[in-house]
């Protein structure tokens, strides 16, 4: 990867993390762990020349579709969109507040830029299947990306979708699993261990890739292959990530699954991210 591109992506990821911390601290609630774990995934998609979109026309018909099935991670997506300019920065600080378009979980009725509302886990893949079917019928060449959490793998609907997408050869559909190894109640291996995850998706007929979900090199390489290659099957990218990535006291600390940082914690986190005199 060119050093210049890597620097750009690294800086974007840093900005996104700062925004996530500020948004959640100002909101006083939310899900830092699962927002922080997928920052590199989203940054690579949006700023690593993977997703097809038009800055000036976010609902362009030929756009690639991105569905955030793990809706609780939406602060990361809002932050990305503010970097593109689709939502003004000051709106970020209204997250979770009354009358804000930035709902705690994605609500398309309040924010029409969203492809779909989500937050009840397990539903995004099926929606992506509908979009992929429509793309095939209309002979459009957009791709559909569905970002799922690892805890979501518990949901039966996911495997209904996995079966269907393979049978219908929906090769324009890509699932990215943010495999941060935790779900709300604790480590996945203690709650409902579904390993080996790669073999599960493979046995359902999907192309499966495993990457370090915080490595821009690996993400860009695999997403580039998916984008350029014409696979016959749908693809599942298992991205190994760290919950709470980037903030020392949040990493692998599941108490930050659904709890916002306090003001003091947020200031400490922002200092770690390089802000000299952060304010909340």
């Amino acid at each position: 990867m060119e050093i210049a591109i890597k620097e750009i992506l690294t800086e974007k990821a840093l900005n996104i993390r700062k925004k996530i911390i500020k948004m959640l601290a100002k909101a006083g609630s939310g899900h830092p762990g699962g927002s922080l774990s997928m920052v590199e995934i989203l940054v690579t998609l949006y700023f690593g020349e993977i997703l097809k979109y038009r800055e000036e026309d976010p609902l362009w018909e030929e756009r690639d579709r991105l569905i955030l099935s793990k809706g609780h991670g939406v602060p990361a997506l809002y932050a990305i969109w503010s970097e593109i300019g689709w939502i003004p920065e000051h709106m970020l600080w209204t997250l979770r507040k009354l009358n804000s378009p930035l709902q705690g979980h994605p609500d398309r009725r309040k924010l029409p830029l969203l492809e779909i509302s989500s937050g009840s886990l397990g539903q995004g893949l099926s929606v992506g299947i509908g979009m992929a079917l429509a793309g095939k019928m209309d002979k459009r060449d957009y791709r559909v990306y569905v970002i799922m959490g690892d805890g979501e793998m518990d949901e039966g609907q996911v495997w209904e979708g996995a079966m269907f997408a393979n049978f219908h050869k929906l090769n324009n559909l890509t699932v990215i699993v943010d495999y941060n190894k935790f779900q709300l109640d604790g480590p996945i291996r203690e709650i409902l261990d579904f390993s080996p995850l790669d073999e599960k998706w493979r046995s359902f007929g999907w192309e499966v890739f495993e990457v370090d979900g915080h490595s821009f090199e690996e993400l860009k390489e695999v997403l580039g292959r998916v984008k350029d290659n014409n696979f016959e099957k749908p693809q599942c990218i298992i991205a190994h990530t760290t919950k709470g990535k980037g903030i020392s006291f949040m990493e692998n600390n599941n108490s930050f699954h659904g709890k916002a940082p306090t003001k003091e914690q947020a200031i400490e986190a922002l200092k770690e991210l390089g802000e000299e005199s952060p304010e909340i």
């Binding site: 779909i116 539903q123 929606v127 299947i129 429509a134």
Partner: protein, 317 residues
Amino acid sequence: MREFKIGKPTRAAYGETLAEIGEKNKDIVVLDADLSKSTHTYIFAQKFPERFFNFGIAEANMVGAAAGLARCGKIPFCSSFACFMVNKAYEQIRISVAGSGLNVKFVASHGGISVGEDGFTQQSVEDIALMCTFPDFTVVAPADEVYTRWLIKEIAEREGPFYVRTQRPKAPIIYENKNRFEWGKYIKLETGEDVAIFSYGLTVSECLKAHNLLKEKGIKASVYDAPFIKPIDKETILDIAKKIGKIVIVEEHLKDGGLGSRITSFLSEHYPIPVKIIAIENTYAESGKPEELFDKYGLSYRKIYESVINFIKTNTL
């Protein structure tokens, strides 16, 4: 007793109409969950295989995909048995369709206990209540094939989410083809000033028979087909409440959350009058012939007649 010409099941009229309108409207796509022979979407499937998707026995995935198709400008018609599509995919309808503001048409078959011999697992007695909980949904239950054909053409043209309840048995013909239907309005089938009876679906013809029995007893009953359960036809209800003052609602559904509870909650706010709801109460039904089940659960014309007589006695000064 009053005789009706027996028509096609409303589910068959749905399937035929879908195949007809699919010809002109290329945005229509049809989704089913391994029941296309029962819901009659198979006719569309044979005619337009490229626009038909069978999801297998996976209702949640079907509903999610319908949302995705709608988000891309398609007009998805989603079908299964009422209890499977509504109950199994209730939460998918909530988040992916209703909570996402999408244009999906749900048309279920096998509404009510007239499913018959298959027993309670296949008989939906709560679909109407559940589907009425979704914001912006319109919920309609046609009585015969004529109304069904009109209704399906209408909802294909109208933007927004719909739930239509069709049924398994052949349906008595209520309407001649020359009927002109008005969107959202109830239809007066008999006129009488002593009591007004509202119903939808297969029980409409039972109410018409009950009307004749009542007439023999000197009781003049108005009978209305009330296919719109959400929104209710407030204008007609208020007008009838004021003119007649006694209303009976007959429905092949649980008493909880059906047409009766919607009408009574409206009237209690605007014009409280005595209301009798004849419906299934705090139970599921069972195997049996549809007419036997109607009789056992109070929905046959004889039972309706008896209930109406009692209601009038209790509420006459």
